[in-house]
C-alpha cells in the first residue's frame, strides 16, 4: 500500500473521483495504472507505515473505531466478514470497511458494518479511525502460511483473534438480503419464465484469473446435460466475460431454459440475489464459490492450483473437485494463465460426468458413494473419512486431542 498525492482531478471508476491536492491510500498496482494514464498526475509522498495503526485488542472498546480494508477480489473481501462479526460481538467498536467500488455492494445490509469507504480512499479516513487492519497480501503471503490455513483463519489471525475459538459455522462469511431483495428474487424467476419448483443450477463461466478458469467446452457440455435433465441453467459472469457471454447466447439461442446473466449486464448485487435462489452453484475457484457459500447455497467447486480445502471447508453442502496432478496444488496467484497451457491442463482430469455427479449428489438425485468409492469427507473443518490416510490416522488424532485436553 502507498500514500499518493493527487496533482490533478482523476476519475477512477464507477463514479469515484480522486481530488487534486489530497492524499490517497492505494495499492501499488492502482498507482502504476494511474501514473501511466495520468503521467505527472500523481506523486508518492509518505510511507504507508507512517499512518498505519494496526489493531490492538487490549485497547479496543465500544468507543473506538476500526477501519478494515482490502481492495478485492470479492471472495477476499468477504473473508473479512467473520472477523468483523467477532470484533463487533466481543468489543462493539465502530466498524468501517474499505474496498473497491465494484465490490462494495456485496457488503450491503450487513449489521456489523457501520460505514463503507471506496478504495482508493483519502488518507483522512485513516486519521479518523483509532485502529486499522489492512488485508492486502495476507492470502498472497510468501511465507506460505496460506498454503496450510483457510483464508478466513488467516484473516482472523491478522486481526488478533484465535481462530480455534470460533466454530466452523461462525467462520462462514454472511451476506444479507433485505425483504425487498428476497421478493425481487422471486419476481426475477417469474420474469425469466422459470416454473415454480424447477431445479435451478448456476454456473460461473470464468474465474478472475485464467489459471483458475475451467474449460469452457466442458462447462458447455455440463450445461447441455443439465438442460437434457430439464433443469434451468443460469450463467453467471461479469463485464470481462461479455465476449464469452455473447458466444453462449449464440450457442444456446433456442434454449429457453438457459438464462444468460452475463449479457443481461446485471449488477453484483443482482447477481447475489440470483445466487440466493439457485439449487446448486457450479464455479471455479472464484467469487461465486464464496457468494454461494455465504448464502448457504450448495456448491460444486472446481479446483486446480489451489486446494478446495483452503477455500471451501467451512461452507455447508459443498463439494470440491480437486485436480490431483503432479504440479498441483501450485498456489500460483496473479492474472496469467498456466505456463503449461490454457485452460490449465490439470483440469483435464475432471470430466463432465464428475461435475454432474457432484450436482446430482447435492440435489439428492444420486449419491456420490454409489459411483465413487474413494473420496474425502470433512465435517467442521476436520477430515472424517478418507481412503488416503493410514488406518490409525483418526485414532492418533483423537489421542493427541485427548492429550491436549489433559
Amino acid at each position: 500500500m502507498e500514500i499518493v498525492e493527487i496533482l490533478v482531478d482523476i476519475n477512477v471508476y464507477q463514479g469515484l473521483t480522486l481530488k487534486k491536492g489530497h492524499e490517497y491510500v492505494m495499492v501499488g498496482a492502482v498507482r502504476n495504472q494511474l501514473s501511466k494514464i495520468y503521467p505527472g498526475g500523481i506523486n508518492v509522498t509518505r510511507n504507508f507505515s507512517d499512518v498505519y495503526r494496526k489493531i490492538d485488542l487490549s485497547a479496543l472498546t465500544n468507543k473506538k473505531e476500526v477501519f478494515l480494508f482490502r481492495s478485492g477480489g470479492i471472495g477476499d473481501v468477504m473473508f473479512m466478514l467473520p472477523l468483523i462479526k467477532e470484533l463487533k460481538k466481543r468489543y462493539s467498536p465502530r466498524i468501517k470497511v474499505g474496498t473497491s467500488p465494484m465490490y462494495c455492494s456485496a457488503l450491503g445490509n450487513n449489521p456489523d458494518i457501520d460505514e463503507t469507504v471506496l478504495m482508493p480512499f483519502d488518507v483522512v479516513e485513516m486519521d479518523k479511525s483509532d485502529f486499522h487492519l489492512m488485508f492486502e497480501g495476507v492470502i498472497e503471503d510468501p511465507t506460505k502460511k496460506a498454503h496450510f490455513f483457510h483464508s478466513v483463519d488467516l484473516f482472523l489471525e491478522e486481526g488478533g483473534i484465535d481462530s480455534k475459538t470460533l466454530s466452523s459455522s461462525d467462520k462462514i462469511p454472511k451476506l444479507y438480503l433485505n425483504d425487498d431483495e428476497k421478493l425481487s428474487a422471486i419476481k426475477k424467476m417469474r420474469r425469466d419464465g422459470v416454473l415454480e419448483g424447477s431445479r435451478k443450477i448456476g454456473i460461473q463461466i470464468e474465474s478472475s484469473s485464467p489459471i483458475r478458469t475451467f474449460s469452457l467446452d466442458k462447462s458447455v457440455a455440463v450445461m447441455r446435460k443439465l438442460l437434457e435433465e430439464n433443469f434451468y441453467v443460469f450463467i453467471f459472469g461479469g463485464k470481462r466475460q461479455q465476449e464469452v457471454g455473447r458466444y453462449l447466447d449464440e450457442l444456446f439461442e433456442k434454449e429457453s431454459k438457459i438464462i444468460n446473466l452475463i449479457t443481461k449486464d446485471i449488477s453484483l448485487r443482482d447477481s447475489i440475489i440470483y445466487t440466493s435462489v439457485m439449487d446448486v452453484m457450479i464455479a471455479p475457484d472464484s467469487s461465486f464459490i464464496h457468494i454461494a457459500g455465504a448464502l448457504e447455497v450448495p456448491i460444486v467447486g472446481l479446483y486446480g492450483c489451489f486446494p478446495s480445502l483452503l477455500r471451501m471447508k467451512y461452507y455447508k453442502n459443498a463439494i470440491g473437485i480437486d485436480c490431483n496432478v503432479a504440479c498441483a496444488p501450485s498456489f500460483i496467484h496473479g492474472h496469467s494463465s498456466c505456463d503449461k497451457g490454457f485452460p490449465s491442463p490439470c483440469f483435464s482430469v475432471i470430466s463432465v460426468q464428475n461435475i454432474l455427479d457432484a450436482v446430482y449428489h447435492l440435489i439428492d438425485f444420486k449419491k456420490i458413494s454409489s459411483s465413487y468409492p474413494s473420496y474425502n469427507e470433512f465435517v467442521d473443518g476436520e477430515l472424517v473419512k478418507s481412503p488416503f490416510v493410514d488406518e490409525d490416522f483418526f485414532e492418533k488424532r483423537a489421542d493427541s486431542k485427548d492429550g491436549e485436553k489433559e
Binding site: 498454503h147 496450510f148 490455513f149 466452523s168 486446494p307 478446495s308 480445502l309 483452503l310 471451501m312 471447508k313 467451512y314 461452507y315 455447508k316 453442502n317 459443498a318 463439494i319 470440491g320 473437485i321 480437486d322 485436480c323 490431483n324 496432478v325 503432479a326 504440479c327 498441483a328 496444488p329 503449461k340 497451457g341 485452460p343 491442463p345 490439470c346 483435464s348 482430469v349 475432471i350 470430466s351 464428475n354 457432484a358 449428489h361 439428492d364 456420490i368 465413487y372 474413494s374 473420496y375 474425502n376 469427507e377 470433512f378 465435517v379 467442521d380 477430515l383 478418507s386 488416503f388 490416510v389 490416522f393
Partner: protein
Amino acid sequence: MSVKEGVLTKKRKVHKRPAPKKKKKTFTKSPIEMERMIKSIVHDIVLPIEQRLNSLFLNIQNLKANVIASNTILEKTGVINREEFLKECEDYQKSEFSAASDDGTMDGVFVFSLYNMEN
C-alpha cells in the same frame, strides 16, 4: 545361323519353361473371408487384451497418482503429516507426470472432497 538384312546372327535356342504345377490350396476360405477372420481375431482377442493391458497400466498409474497426489494435498494443507511421502511427492513432481501433453491433457486423477453435508 540366319541372315537378316545382311547381318549374320546366331539363333538362340529357346528353352520352354515347364508348365507350372497346380498348387494344392491349403485354405478353404476366400480372401474376403480371410480378411474378415483376421479382423475378427484382432477385434475380439488382440484389442481387448491390449485395452486391458492399457487399462491396467493406467489404473496402476492412477492409483499411484491418486494416493500420492491426494497425500500431497493433505500434506500441503497440514491435514496430515506424512514425512515419508514428502520426498516421494518431490520426486513425483519432477517426474514425467508433471508435463502436459500436446493436446492439453495431463496425467492424474480427480478427487471429491465433501464439506459439511447436511443430507
